[in-house]
Subunit: 379 residues, 2 copies
């Protein structure tokens, strides 16, 4: 069934919208139809700089774009503090929403947005690109493979370290670590919206920690942990915005995961996932080193040589090529869902708001735990 | 000054002693002179199986070996619970000590051993092999390079997250993560000395966590952290021996490090060290994948392409070759120090007991924090 491409409008000319404009152009089932800024000149310059087609409409207000009946979906790259207001309005205008992350300042805000989407029958998806990379699907195949990665056996040992639980009877245990850091410059740390308490108030946790949290949830099939405990050493700026922090997540069946996020350390984006039978590593999970191919490393059932002087087997690298960059894969998947809804009256896919919500829920727990001096927060 | 090789005796035929026997054979300034077991047959079989020279002496008791005036140094691979007794006796017999890790059940035990060594003028070094790999020296050059890795600037922000400290004024922050896990089989988890409360009572923390702790101290030039906080989710066996745990270390100047160790997850041995200007990664820090060469990855001052679709620069891999395997480098360095003492009456090098002690101190703090339900423990 050949369908018309989904017509995208963009409200706000954030830097990230440049990348998304190209992604919409590249996605075969999407087209760049309009851009709005509070300034018509700015919108016009943005459209020109980002190769919008001549047919694209330029708006000097977000409302005008939302009133355009020829727009199917809206990409919202506005500061987090504006999400609840504008995303709800997008939904009320019956337009599908591709919403930049973090989706809200807290889960209550997201719930309002999701409620508006459900009431209006529109799809919502957050702008987490890496989960759409074909590499990510290949990595998940590894994590789901009991032979190569191992099992997530239950053993109710979680509270044993507190002295109030059962002693473990089974031997398996999964562990995962994720981090995303980058070294922001003086200008960023002074002026960027991500260090402002009235804009992207979740700071490094919302901007960088979002990915670590998402990667952990992704690895465990989005099973929520039982508790979230902030790690010591969180750094906040004068306005109380998080510049660096981390947390440990743990599940009742014994799984443990930690993540670290920071604006204050060199660019690093790692996943290490350890099962009972195998280990997965990669160091570019959010933005692959290059667009056209991306790699990860796995090793299964490895042990040592007789005298413990080497590994058998050693890890092997897997490279996955992609025609479309991951952000265009994201746009394409989102447009596919929107196309289905338009063509068949299908219901929006609840998976996407559900995983946004779980990510935000953990984010909220981390901020609570930091505020409470690293007390464990129950989910 | 050509000197005679240092004559090594080994007390106990532990599995690890096979590796060390070969290392002593390979080290040009060391020779295998004797082995002792509580059983003469066992010692004899060990010597035969491990290519001891015909001149090597076989003893049916540890004491007899220690009384041999033709032994300069003794390698002690006995279970941790026996260290304080035997290492003190080795020192009293004026023999230098290469002591398997963990060095003691706690720092008090180590202090007794070190005291005995000092009183008798003998060198002590623990059996941590990886720090002697030429790769490790190359990695340290990277970590010490302000251009490539960045600075460890002070900013007294540590307690800010508790709401009682200063707000940070400087932007740098170092972060590090290390882990060592391996999936022990049923037999190990039932019978190995490392799961027995009367033998290697520190379990996975002593056997695997030792390395993570050492790697963190190594990276920060052995500066002790201010606090150590166990991560949630430690697993203990029926006898109370740790099978899996982790901790977060933090320093008053804002550095943070975490480590994880386990007998319950697939073989993994990572270091990730993140400075303000660069990142170091390796996945085989304790036992390199192969003997003859070992690699690590670094990337400095990396950022993104214009549209944030790739990295510039991407990480690069560094490979360091070595003629001697790392355990032979360790033996050789230890024998060099012993040779110096013998030839010139030099004092034993205090660096080695000092870094053993710091490692043990953190180990003790982790066990205390676990026992106290993850309360931060001051060092």
């Amino acid at each position: 069934m050949a369908e018309k491409p989904i017509r995208f409008g963009i409200i706000g000319c954030a830097d990230i919208a440049r990348k998304l404009s190209r992604a919409i152009t590249l996605a075969p089932n999407a087209e760049l139809s309009a851009v709005a800024s509070r300034s018509l000149d700015k919108a016009s310059a943005f459209a020109k700089a980002n190769n919008f087609p001549p047919s694209a409409k330029i708006y000097g207000s977000y409302e005008d774009l939302l009133d355009d009946p020829e727009i199917d979906a809206v990409y919202v790259p506005l500061p987090t503090s504006l999400h609840v207001r504008w995303a709800c309005l997008v939904a009320q205008k019956k337009k599908h929403i591709l919403l930049e992350k973090p989706v809200g300042l807290n889960v209550t805000e997201l719930d309002k947005i999701v409620e508006a989407c459900e009431a209006n029958g529109v799809q919502i998806m957050d702008g987490t690109m890496w989960v759409h990379n074909p590499r990510t699907h290949k990595m998940k195949e590894f994590l789901n493979d009991k032979e190569r990665f191992g099992e997530l056996k239950n053993f109710a040992n979680l509270r044993f370290w507190l002295g109030i639980g059962h002693r473990p009877r089974e031997k398996s245990k999964n562990w995962m670590h994720s981090c995303f850091t980058f070294a922001a410059d003086e200008d960023f740390l002074k002026n960027d919206i991500r260090v402002k308490s009235d804009l992207d108030a979740l700071g490094a946790l919302g901007d960088a920690g979002w990915y670590g949290i998402r990667s952990i949830l992704w690895a465990v099939d989005y099973e929520l942990p039982k508790t979230v405990t902030a790690l010591p050493g969180a750094v906040l700026n004068e306005a109380g915005v998080i510049l660096s922090c981390g947390a440990a997540l743990h599940w009742e069946d014994g799984k443990v995961a930690t993540f670290h996020c920071s604006f204050l350390a060199h660019l690093t984006m790692d996943i290490t996932a350890i099962g009972t039978a195998g280990t997965l590593h990669l160091n570019d999970f959010i933005i692959p080193f290059g667009e056209k191919e991306a790699s990860f490393t796995t090793v299964s059932k490895s042990g040592f040589t007789d005298l413990v002087t080497g590994w058998v087997p050693v890890p092997s690298q897997h490279t996955v090529t992609t025609d479309l960059p991951q952000e265009a894969c994201m746009v394409s998947e989102f447009a596919r869902l929107v196309g289905n809804i338009k063509a068949t009256g299908a219901k929006p896919d609840p998976k996407w708001p559900s995983i946004s919500r779980k990510t935000q829920l953990i984010l909220d727990a981390v901020t609570t735990s930091i505020a409470q001096g690293s007390k464990p927060v129950e989910i």
